[in-house]
């Protein structure tokens, strides 16, 4: 395994047995190039960080009656402007709840279940964290807004129904044509009240619409410095190769053919939202509309 030259790791772990096992795993992977300082509680850890610089914090979540490992990381963030990468570890039983806490805590790079039989995930996480020495946060995603532009009211209703059927967490906004879409995105015209809201995380765009069609809208979106980074999924009945090529050429992120029956539409909406909302990292979290 490619390992960068390591220096110092701080391990905050209240269980001496677990600490021994983790140290063994690290020494097996990194050999003598690593030095590991072990703190058994948060005060000890804070004292250690005052004296030395660490490349990485490995932090157990549960520290007995002490604050949690994540709490300690958060207090560290208050006193240091730049933390090293932080990996939060936990025993198996509470992993799902801890993951939620860790994901929402800024400063935590990765969250892992402790696995003493196989260290490969831990070692990989450490390598990733060290390769990427910029400050990292697990992305915190608010519920995103998805905007759909479609001139066909029946199609609008069907997609809205699909969202309801799937109990999707994303909000779905509808506009009727390309011109309305641009106004919506620019927070102008009848959409000026949206000015303080975050931009949508995803655009579903029909091709054939009056006033301004999807091709023109897509061209304008891609020409706009603020809007161009929003992913656009063309969602259209057209199966024409020319539309397909032109769609990608104009910069659409994906081209999806609208299925004819409702069940297939629900399935496609499910796949699209799973992909864009839980697999892909979207730029929307980091975007605030211009004042």
């Amino acid at each position: 395994m490619n390992t960068p030259a390591l220096k110092r790791i701080l391990l905050l772990e209240d269980s001496a047995d677990d600490a021994t096992l983790i140290v063994e795993q690290l020494q097996q992977a990194f050999g003598k190039t690593v030095s590991i300082d072990i703190a058994s509680d948060s005060h000890h850890a804070t004292a250690l960080t005052a004296d030395a610089d660490y490349e990485l914090y490995l932090v157990d979540y549960y520290l007995g009656i002490d604050v949690t490992g994540v709490d300690w990381v958060l207090t560290q963030r208050q006193s240091q402007s730049l933390l090293p990468p932080v990996i939060v570890l936990t025993g198996l039983d509470d992993a799902d709840q801890i993951e939620l806490v860790a994901s929402n805590a800024s400063g935590v790079s990765y969250f892992l279940k402790k696995d003493f039989s196989d260290s490969s995930d831990l070692i990989r996480a450490i390598n990733f964290a060290l390769k990427n020495r910029m400050q990292m946060n697990l992305p915190v995603y608010d519920k995103i807004t998805i905007v759909m532009a479609d001139d066909d009211y029946d199609d609008q209703l069907l997609v809205a129904d699909a969202f309801e059927e799937l109990k999707l967490e994303s909000r779905l906004d509808m506009v009727n044509d390309g011109e309305a879409l641009l106004n919506y995105l620019r927070r102008q015209g009848k959409y000026v009240d949206l000015i303080d809201e975050k931009l949508p995380g995803l655009i579903l765009l029909d091709l054939n619409m009056p006033r301004m069609d999807g091709r023109q809208a897509l061209t304008e979106i891609r020409a706009d410095a603020q809007l161009r980074r929003i992913p656009v999924v063309l969602l259209t009945t057209s199966e024409a190769e020319s539309d397909l090529l032109q769609g990608y050429d104009l910069g659409a992120n994906s081209y999806v053919v609208k299925p004819v029956n409702f069940d297939d539409l629900v399935a496609i909406i499910a796949h699209i939202t799973t992909y864009w909302c839980s697999i892909v990292t979207l730029p929307s979290s980091y975007y605030r509309p211009e004042a």
Binding site: S254, D264, V280, Y286
Partner: protein, 151 residues
């Protein structure tokens, strides 16, 4: 939804041999019928796509159906390669999915600005990687229409 999967190639660009191996293993888990080709830096990537240099034997074969692109690579990084791909009239039609360890805001924004079709952070565990590969291939080969499928 279509039930057939054309046997087009997936191209992955990543300088880390362990990561390439993991993705290859993940594709095997998912039992994908498509073949996967690997390149290890941006220079190899562009040679492969332009079917030149060490890859001139590819001349005449169809382009890959999907590119998985790491950002941090020697010789030419993913950001530069992405820019070149999206500036070329033919190559820009190929969906590019950034697959990187970086979670930096700037990388995410810049990738989408440059025209990346998606940005995905490499998961740490193999199980999550298999899950991601399964969903990525399902999305790009079953749900989405890609250019040149009809050929």
């Amino acid at each position: 939804m279509r039930s057939n999967m054309e046997l087009i190639t997936i191209l992955m660009a990543d300088d880390d041999p362990d990561d390439r191996l993991l993705v290859e293993d993940a594709f095997e888990e998912v039992q994908l019928k498509n073949s996967i080709d690997f390149v290890k830096d941006g220079v190899e990537l562009m040679d492969y796509l332009f079917q030149r240099g060490a890859y001139s034997s590819l001349a005449g074969s169809p382009p890959p159906g999907l590119i998985l692109l790491d950002l941090n690579m020697p010789k030419k990084d993913g950001r530069q390669a992405l820019r070149e791909i999206k500036e070329d009239a033919k190559l820009r039609l190929i969906p590019v999915v950034i697959l990187t360890t970086s979670q930096a805001d700037e990388d995410i924004l810049r990738s989408y600005d440059l025209g990346a079709n998606s940005f995905i952070v490499k998961p740490v565990t193999f199980d999550k990687l298999v899950d991601i590969i399964r969903k990525v291939t399902n999305y790009w080969f079953q749900i989405v229409r890609r250019p040149g499928e009809g050929d």
